[in-house]
Symmetry: C2
Subunit: 335 residues, 2 copies
Amino acid sequence: MSETKVLLDYGSGGRASQRLVSELFVRNFDNPELNRLNDAARIELSGPLAMSTDSFTVDPIFFPGGDIGSLSVHGTVNDVAMLGAEPKYLTCGFIIEEGLPMADLERIVVSMAAAARHAGVEIVTGDTKVVPKGAVDKIFINTTGIGSIIADPAPSADRARPGDALLISGTLGDHGLTVLSQREGLEFEVPVKSDSAALNHLLLKLVRAIPDIHVLRDPTRGGLATTINEITEKSGCGCLIEEALLPITDPVRSGCSFLGLDPLYLANEGKFLCILPEEYAQQALDIMHADELGHDACRIGGMTEDNPGKTVLQTPLGGKRLMNMLEGEQLPRIC
Amino acid sequence: MSETKVLLDYGSGGRASQRLVSELFVRNFDNPELNRLNDAARIELSGPLAMSTDSFTVDPIFFPGGDIGSLSVHGTVNDVAMLGAEPKYLTCGFIIEEGLPMADLERIVVSMAAAARHAGVEIVTGDTKVVPKGAVDKIFINTTGIGSIIADPAPSADRARPGDALLISGTLGDHGLTVLSQREGLEFEVPVKSDSAALNHLLLKLVRAIPDIHVLRDPTRGGLATTINEITEKSGCGCLIEEALLPITDPVRSGCSFLGLDPLYLANEGKFLCILPEEYAQQALDIMHADELGHDACRIGGMTEDNPGKTVLQTPLGGKRLMNMLEGEQLPRIC
């Protein structure tokens, strides 16, 4: 695009919008259905289908390990995949503040396109609104994804059962701490980096190999503590987590300690919880360890008949305490 | 909800978010899949599908004839239906400014629920972000819709052919003029009202009865002039419109004249263009006239071999002038 800033005209629906769409979006997202530019995309999929939507308002829009563009692809791809589905198509809705540097928008779009290619999904239709300065902070992106459900029965939070193993695919708290430290202008000795990633390829390997995974969930906003509490509440199981087993990197641990944050409540954008019958736990871990997104996967606990609906954390010294859902708001605009 | 304002906590993903979702969204949108509250919804659909997304940033959020909630349902339902499809499921993503009166949010959600019921679609999954005061103006809503394509072949802008009749389902400019006059605090002698409506039931009657509708399009942002130019550019046809046949109400005509606006460039949110072989034109008009959303439907012109890619307006006195696509931005935040 020749202009250096995004103008209101680009959201008019008229000639300028058309130019933005063809020179930026079509060029980068390039696929036959998007290129047709109808009001709706025509897609070929047969049911049952998984469909998920997310709006991304992360601040700052660029951060170590990603940006609002790649995050908006990863987040929705992951939510679709958590239903044991293969994500295929995304829609995207941009809400852009008048005056956003065109270079920022281009960088975001290029990053989205790369993330979509890597995840194996196509961005088939979209919408762009440009609003006057001050009506939105820089840029917000909504993505909605759809894909065919492969797992039968599909994983669901209410399917956790006492005796199930609880696995996590990697380290906790990286995304949340990274975004917060960037926003506050903090630098740590060992830099932290968002874990933002598309988990669908790894998840597909799991659901194809293992016949009955009970729950898959990504611990995003509200972190591990909130996600696991949703699962215990919906399934009626209890959950016992061994604190000593929780994988947290040293930089995240010390950054959290410095800022008074609990990594169990921090958002992750490239991790998932997997709850499944104990007999399949080792097989699942082997599959995860063979994938670069599951190197640090481990068992962190299991589902119990005791304490139905509650999550109990067992400390390294043998004490036990309740781990509650996030109560207030720790970090707005984290994703 | 007991609070009078939307707090940041409601977007945390934690306990407060859960309360907002269950007490407001689930209660109003109520359907088995939404109520399951997984990261993704499971839906049953097959065959060629139409999928469309739109973000709504309209200012003001309440206006005569609708609000941002009903508009966000109608807009996406209509876009899906324009592909000759039956819209079935919607997702919705709310981005809410901290401090929005809870009564406003409730009014919007109730209005969305009523619009969805009336259109016969279910809101099966959603996402809520609350951002700090000043990061967004009140509330923006994204909806994404999906449905099965009924028409075969499906209508598409590039399928217009010379000799086709050009029909419009009703009067032009009502939505655009209404929103603008509200925003500017203008009152006209005869009040104007948005035409925001779900067109899917009427469109379905048309695609079921008439074997080969070439193009269906709703003239939203950029108005009739922009939409018809997209069609002539994609199809390579010319288009001749008779100005005297354009249905515009007297209040819209005089409001536009007062404000120096051209109703052909104003957004409509409950109208569609229908381009089809001449032999079916009367049948299509009869179907439209029998529906309350098509009372004022009429033929406004036809597609031509002359002037390929251009739209020509024939004035009542017999003169002809080119009708171009919207060039700049007439009205930001109109939808």
